[in-house]
């Protein structure tokens, strides 16, 4: 899942220099595109000194087709606001947002409704289900809004109900379901319109730890079938590691670092990122490809492991083979050797 080979590098959704400022007159700070020059944090401080609240400051990133892009941050870091800017529930104060190379900020309300009806799906932390509708009516709600006939709605909704494993619960009312089941309804509803882009705003944060883990696996399973372009918001670093293809860490409305989970762990950009990464069990994050010893010659007889094998699973092998193992890429070609020593070396670099 975490391989970039399955993900084409084509950009699906992209945001450029997005600012969101709350206050009496937030536009005054962006009159001449002034946010583009100067240090982000300087301008940001300037704005908050003027009695305004900066929710997002100069945020830019791309989401590629079929990838899971996770935005991770603590509460108040602006991660919820940025996902609302992307889905245009909130209008950014400045910047650009492109979906399939079309600027969402230039769209009229009517066009936006149309985009939401066909291209976007969103899952909410507190589910946002309608209490007066039962399970299948909730899931078919977006289809109803599009004006689809009841038969067609039910047919489409049945399909996603099966996908999220709620078959048999169609006629239950929302209040009769557990939290995990309610979020399954939320997920099904967001997928009912077969969107390209899938937003998930802390979808599992309101659930118990055990259910949360279950739902994460469930989510990965669904995504492996659906292959949407996903923007996933979370405050849980472990959750981010588990599901992210790439992730961004946010603080004070700004993006601190973007990269694959392993990049963040191996080379945290600053003290703040390191705070998150330091408790991570390395062997579960590092993959075979991360501990290759460049100086060692590739041995033809050595045992082979795939490049994306978690190091945790290799420990047994490494402890026995003093010469190390050969790492092969997806084509079967040997790309380097990994040894117990190189593993310890990788740990040593990460630790400092």
């Amino acid at each position: 899942m975490k391989s970039d080979q399955q993900i084409s590098k084509k950009v699906k959704l992209s945001c450029r220099n997005v600012w969101k400022v709350y206050g009496d007159n937030p536009c005054q700070f962006f009159s001449k595109g002034s946010h583009l020059d100067g240090e982000t944090s300087v301008l940001s401080k300037d704005i908050s000194d003027n009695g305004h609240i900066v929710a997002n400051a100069n945020v830019s990133f791309d989401v590629h087709i079929g990838e899971i892009f996770v935005i991770m941050g603590l509460s108040g870091s602006g991660k919820s606001t940025i996902v609302r800017c992307l889905s245009r529930l909130v209008k950014p104060t400045a910047g650009e947002i492109f979906l399939d190379d079309e600027n969402l900020l230039e769209k009229s309300d009517k066009e936006l409704i149309d985009i939401r009806r066909h291209k976007m799906g969103m899952v909410f932390q507190n589910f946002g289900l309608l209490p007066h509708l039962n399970v299948i009516e909730n899931i078919a709600f977006p289809l109803k809004l599009q004006g689809l006939k009841e038969k067609e709605r039910i047919k489409k909704a049945e399909r996603v109900i099966e996908l999220v494993g709620l078959t048999g619960r169609e006629n239950n009312f929302i209040t009769e379901l557990s939290g995990g089941q309610q979020q399954r309804v939320g997920i099904a509803r967001s997928l009912a319109v077969e969107p390209d882009v899938w937003f998930l705003d802390e979808p599992f944060s309101a659930l118990d730890p055990l259910i949360r883990k279950q739902m994460q696996d469930e989510f990965l399973r669904i995504q492996s079938i659906q292959k949407k372009s996903v923007v996933f918001i979370t405050h849980d670093f472990q959750e981010a590691l588990k599901i992210a293809d790439r992730m961004a860490i946010m603080r004070d409305g700004q993006i601190v670092q973007i990269g694959e989970p392993v990049d963040l762990i191996l080379s945290p950009k600053d003290h703040f990122v390191r705070e998150f990464t330091k408790d991570v069990p390395w062997e579960s994050v590092l993959q075979a490809t991360d501990i290759i010893d460049e100086s060692k010659k590739i041995s033809e007889t050595a045992e082979q492991v795939p490049f994306d094998m978690p190091v945790a699973k290799m420990l047994h092998l490494l402890s026995k083979k003093s010469l190390g193992v050969a790492v092969i890429d997806s084509g079967g070609k040997k790309i380097g050797m990994a040894t117990a020593q190189s593993f310890v070396a990788a740990l040593a670099t990460a630790e400092t």
Binding site: G128, L129, P131, E176
Partner: protein, 693 residues
Amino acid sequence: MRSAILEKKTLIWIGIILITITFLIFKEELDWLTQYPKELIIPFSDWINFLMDKFIYKFGWLFLNVSWFLSWPINAAQWFLHSLPWVVVIFLVTIVAYLSVGLRLALFTLCATFYMVLIGYWEESMNTLSLVIISVPMAVLIGFGLGVWGYFSKRAEKIIMPILDIFQTVPTFAYLLPILLLFGFGTVVGLIASILYSFPPMVRNTILGLRRVPENIIESAIMSGADAKQLFWQAMLPSCKKQILLGVNQSTMAAFSMVIIAAIIGGTADIGWEVLYYIRKAEVGQSLVVGLVIALMAIIIDRITSGFAIKSDQAKRGRGLQKNTKINYLNFAVLGCVILFILSRFFALLDDWPYNLSAWLAVHINDLFDAFVESFRSEIKLIKNFTLFFIMLPTKIGFQQAVSPFTWGFQLETIHKILYFACFLITSLLFLKNKKSEFFVFTLLLMIFMYVGLTEMPWPALLIIYSFFSWQIGGYKLALGTFFGLTFIVVVGMWPEAMISVYICGIAVVFCFIIGTSLGVWAAHNTIVSVILRPINDTLQTIPLFVILIPFVMLFKIGDFTALLAIIIYAIVPSIRYAEHGIRNLPSEVIEASKMMGATTMQIVFLVKVPLAMPIIMLGLNQTIMYGIAMLVIAALIGTNGLEQIVFIGLTDGNMGKGFVAGISMAIIAMIVDRITKTISEKRSEALGFKIK
């Protein structure tokens, strides 16, 4: 923090007290101090009368046409309800009751409606019902429309809210006269008055409901691709259906009580008029028999409408099945109606009940009451005299006049006076020594008040005291409001009457607050008490005000004391409810923590629970005052002397200006007290750091 010398505000209070004493000393010489000079009274009421005359002269035809137009639906509804045989109506109402709540309400409804038939007041009841049936949908539509507008537009809300305040605080009688003058006599006055009185709760509930729609429901609907209309009708409105239906319930109850009150102008031949007729003729038994009809109608209407509101919130299984049962009920209802209708063609008894049991019942009730009064004559007199001589009179005219050989059994001598002042002064100084400056000031003020009496206090002194008190509570805005509001009452010459209203209401409120809050606290700890109190409270809150008067008139005849009792019994309800609610909903950790510190039950109640529940208890006080004022207005019927009586006389004499000015004066008092108590409550809850639910 506090300096050794007196605080600034205490110094100001001492200054005010000195001024008051000076005023009192020069009272004899300067009589404008007690009596605002007649020459200076602004003839506000004459102006209003003049303007109204002009207005009616110019536009009267317009309103008469509206009146003519509106009389059609009423006539149609009356015709319809009259042409249906009573068995059919009872059958229909019972089925609705069953659908709304269940078997128990259905049985209750059956018995209650059958009672209406038996005592021979079916026709009058249907007249009342037809007015309600026509006015409620109009009030609900207007209220809903304004509510939605107010929700979406901040500016609209700013205009709508004060208007609602005015509509709900101006005494109900004061509504009637302008409407009467504009629309002419007849049922239409009742209709319009009840619409005006009953749309505000709908507006409030609509706005509240829409505001409470969770943000994530709105967001998820938008992300599902809802446009503005779909968002409102398919997501927001269904999510706040319960609140909106509660608004319908409140509007219906308000409409019903206003229809009953509107009976006072007559010409409607409805059930309210009958009750009033018998109250005025002092035929208490008969008025109770008929008054019971009103109470029963109110309870049925309330339970049915609130039942639908509560049901809307419950999850239901298997919608398909429900659709079928709905159709079954409909078939059953139609079939039953047809059968009963045909039956009634053959048995005239089922169409028109020929007997009238009310006279027979009334005689027995009268006998019963007479026997009761006879055997407890001395006790009743004792209670009445005790309250009058020792509580009401001193508050009204002060000890200096209230204490006489006839009342207290002795003359007020110098030695008594010295003792009185000495006691109060020593107590106040003790408070001062303990740095309780609020109590110090309060004791001194109480000493002066109780000696002089509320109605004998110089008005400038009261004006200063009230204004400064408001300033302490809510800053200069509240103080200015208080000052100008009270000044208005002074300059239109309504001050003496206003003070009489304040005196009766004040005693009632103090009593309600002490007893009611204690009962509430008790009920919060004792389920049996709670279970006993709940239906009593429900009933008292549901039945229209002037039915409550009847039993008290029977026992104590007319007068201030009867009015006081009626106010107490009605206004005590919110004090009980809020106290119980406040105590029951405290965060349990705090109570557990104090238990673990070894607090006794009593310590927990008085040192933890009551202080923490204070913001909510204060809201209860606020509601008690509002209820008290509402009941006071109705108590004018049994002869009180305050503002409410002027409103009432204005109505019966057709002097709109006078009645209206008095009505506004009452509204001013109500609003000032409302703001003050609410501010205290908000400040307390802010200090405690939690929001009131």
